[in-house]
Amino acid sequence: MTTPLSSILLVFTASFIGSFGAVFLKMGAGRLHREILSLLLNWRLAVGIALYLLSFVFYYMGLRAGELSVLYPMVALGYIWTMVWSRMFFGEPFSARKIGGILLILCGVALLNLGNR
């Protein structure tokens, strides 16, 4: 079974959309305080959750056709996007520890995948 380019593009798009979901959740979360309206009228949280659901749809469509061993580790692309957006939107610095942690997680996901063959 080979992985069609369409699957790769779908999963790529999903990771991209999902990372923006996280950005909107973070933006919305920063505006929460002790009153229910700050939760109910929080459009940023709503957009974040909607983007998450949308990314899930893209993952689902992508994973239907392709090979999991190729596509599953691509999920981790989302971590790299998120690191870039976090710096752009929230001024969170890149650090050796952050990059090291993400690399370790990527290796771990790849190992789990080897175990699933």
Partner: protein, 133 residues
């Protein structure tokens, strides 16, 4: 800052430390996997999709509620924590799914899987150690 604000009606709420935020994401992944388990075993993939069957499916509602709690915990964690440190911690989901598959669905554990779990945990530990300097 203490656990409680001096003025309880203040709009300022308690702030989580970095470790507490990581703990919240940890809980978020546990609830997320429990949600997946309930939705997977709810039989929605096999049974016909009638509205009545959907509404009466307790497993499905339990799963969706757990997803809701999981998302709420993630939002709380993101409020005070660094997104770039917390987001990769969600990969703990892979660890729980692997352990659950072995325990509940009796999938075999291999050296690769154990190594994978250990490496992911070390990555999470590195991210959880503290705020980036």
């Amino acid at each position: 800052m203490g656990l409680y604000n001096k003025n309880f009606v203040s709009r300022e709420s308690y702030r989580f430390s970095h470790r507490q935020s990581v703990g919240l994401v940890f809980l978020c992944t546990l609830f997320g996997v429990a949600a997946q388990y309930f939705i997977k075993t709810s039989g929605m993939q096999t049974s016909g999709l009638t509205l009545a069957a959907l509404l009466a499916n307790v497993q499905l509602w339990a799963g969706l509620s757990l997803y809701g709690i999981s998302t709420g915990l993630l939002i709380l964690a993101l409020r005070d924590g660094e997104l770039s440190l917390l987001y990769p911690v969600i990969s703990l989901t892979y660890v729980w799914v692997t352990i659950l598959s072995a325990m509940v669905f009796h999938e075999t554990m291999s050296v690769y899987k154990i190594a994978g779990i250990a490496v992911i945990c070390s990555g999470v530990a590195l991210l959880g150690k503290g705020k980036s300097a």
